[in-house]
Symmetry: C2
Subunit: 215 residues, 2 copies
């Protein structure tokens, strides 16, 4: 019995990594679609989000089944509850990648970012890509140096979010209302993407160290 | 033992209702602060969100403890897992009320909504108030007619979200960049508030009927 249970827990971990890989690809593709006005790529991110949602539902059901069947305590319980929450964060990160792709699609054949903010949006996209990539490796290796890196990239995303307001409300801003809408949404989506990355990083840290860091 | 467990489950339900009441007050006050540029009211919503966060953490810990100690199966397990998720949705709704209040605070002494969109923002605020109020009653009574009403108000919030884009990108729009930022964020916050209300409504429906409705 214990061996089967162990195998199921390992499978759960592997599935989280696979789910995170899809999120990583989604956010990278969404950023590329956004910055290059690549409509087919945007469409593929939007369509692919259904797969991430389905993986979440599947993982979720298996966690609840494991709770019911195995009645785990202590560490096992903590692992399963964490898996539930990490899957939920990954699902939201997939949604946010889809939202970024939807902005790209809505603007096509134009690019969504005004010339003035291409660098800013590129920085957001790159920081989010790093969050995606490190989340995969963190889930696979539990190397907490990666958790620290995710927190730093989230800080950067918060700064870029604040900078987006300063630019749009500054004297030199010449963008259209559409471009203000785009940047406001994109900055918010990327900022939330970082938050979910941090939420996963903290769960892994807690699983590894038993200590919860709130800020 | 069973009696104590039953009492703990009842307490969990009561605490969710209490948490939902705070969310209801928060979203109502945030909307009022927003529409009347009431700074002290905005500040009170912002400060009060810490209490909602603390209630969530407390509820969360108790759910995990109940899982560990009681090793529940079937309906009891479903109730506890649902409580975990409903608390998490309520916590996010509290965050969104805080975000609305933060928009009000940032704009003070001006009101955040351009004259042209006061009616639109008022409708968003009222729909969100109804979601808040019905979520409390739904959690307290499990009357599924209320779940239907939450879904309808969420549909309305989605329509108002779409309408906000149409107005800002239309020919008659005369707002400033700041007003575009405000409305874009507010429409998004209210739309997400509705989503979380629906998520709670569906969990309650599932607890009552055993059937999951995805759309």
């Amino acid at each position: 019995m214990r061996e089967i249970f162990e195998a199921e827990l390992t499978q759960l971990g592997d599935d989280l990594v696979a789910m995170a890989r899809r999120v990583e690809t989604a956010i990278e593709s969404a950023g590329q679609a956004l910055l290059t006005a690549d409509l087919p790529l945007a469409e593929s991110v939007i369509a692919g989000d259904m797969v991430i949602d389905a993986l979440n539902r599947d993982l979720d059901e298996r966690c609840v089944m494991l709770l019911a069947r195995q009645q785990p305590v202590a560490t096992d319980l903590r692992v399963i509850i964490s898996a539930l929450r990490i899957a939920s964060s990954l699902e939201r990160m997939g949604d946010l990648a889809r939202h970024v792709a939807q902005v790209a699609r809505r603007c096509y054949p134009q690019t969504a970012a005004a010339d003035q903010v291409v660098d800013l949006v590129t920085s957001m996209s790159q920081a989010a890509d790093r969050v995606g990539e490190r989340t995969v490796r963190l889930l696979a290796t539990r190397d907490l140096a990666l958790a620290d890196e995710v927190e730093r990239d989230d800080d950067l995303l918060d700064e870029l979010h604040t900078a987006s307001f300063a630019i749009q409300l500054g004297d030199t801003w010449t963008g259209t209302a559409q471009q203000v809408v785009n940047l406001t949404l994109l900055a918010r989506y990327y900022e939330r993407f970082g938050d979910h990355g941090v939420s996963i990083a903290r769960r892994i840290r807690y699983l590894v160290t038993g200590e919860w860091r709130t800020a």
